[in-house]
Symmetry: C2
Subunit: 120 residues, 2 copies
C-alpha cells in the first residue's frame, strides 16, 4: 500500500474530524511510521482491518480537502510568508550597506518574528 504524502499534511488540518479510532490508526501509519502488521498487533485487529480503516480515513481527508480547500489555502499563506521573509532580509542587507538605521533594523526583526510565528 503506497503512502500518500498529502495525507500527513491533511491530517494536521482535518484529523480531528475522523473518529478517534480512525485517527489513531492513521497516525500510527503516517506519523509514527508503523507497518500495517505492527498496527494490527497493537490495536488487536486484523491487518486487513487496519488497511481498510486507513483507506477509508484517507478518502475522508481527501474529500474534506476537496470540499473545503483549507490546506491549500494555508499552503499559499506559507508560500507568501517565505517571500515576505526574503524581502525583509533583502531590506536588512541593504540597510546594513547604508550604515544600519536602527529603526529599519527593528522593523525588519519584527516582520521576521511575525512570519516565524505563523510558520512554526
Amino acid at each position: 500500500m503506497a503512502k500518500d504524502l498529502r495525507i500527513t499534511f491533511l491530517l494536521d488540518f482535518y484529523g480531528d474530524m475522523l473518529t478517534e479510532k480512525q485517527r489513531e490508526v492513521v497516525e500510527c501509519y503516517y506519523n509514527e511510521d508503523l507497518s500495517l502488521a505492527e498496527i494490527a498487533e497493537e490495536k488487536g485487529i486484523t491487518r486487513q482491518g487496519v488497511r481498510d480503516g486507513i483507506k477509508r480515513a484517507e478518502q475522508q481527508l481527501l474529500e474534506m480537502e476537496e470540499r473545503l480547500g483549507l490546506a491549500k489555502r494555508f499552503r499559499s499563506v506559507q508560500e507568501e510568508l517565505t517571500q515576505i521573509c526574503d524581502h525583509a532580509l533583502q531590506i536588512e542587507a541593504e540597510n546594513e550597506k547604508n550604515g544600519g538605521d536602527p529603526v529599519i533594523r527593528q522593523n525588519v526583526e519584527s516582520i521576521l518574528r511575525s512570519a516565524k510565528k505563523l510558520t512554526d
Copy 2:
C-alpha cells in the same frame, strides 16, 4: 432569533461541508440578510422549518470550528499580517527620511503586495 456573527465567518470556512439546501438557507439569512419569512416564501418551506434548518447548520459550523479550529488559525494569520504591514510602512517612512533607497522601497512594496494577497 439573534444572529450569531461568528457564523458569517465560519460559513466562509466550513460552508461547503453543509448540505446544499442547508447552505442556501443559511447564506440567505446571514449573507443576503433575508428574514425567516422571506426565506420560507422563497424556498417554499415553513418559517419554523427555516428556523430549525438554520439552527442545525449553526450548530454544525460551531462544532466543526470547535474540532478543527481552522477559522481561529486563519484569524491569527490575519492579525500577524496586519502587524507585518504596519512594520513595512514604518520601514518605508524611515527610508524616505533617509533619502529613499530604491532597493528598500521595492522590497517594502513586495511585502505589502504579498500581505495584501493573503488578506483579500
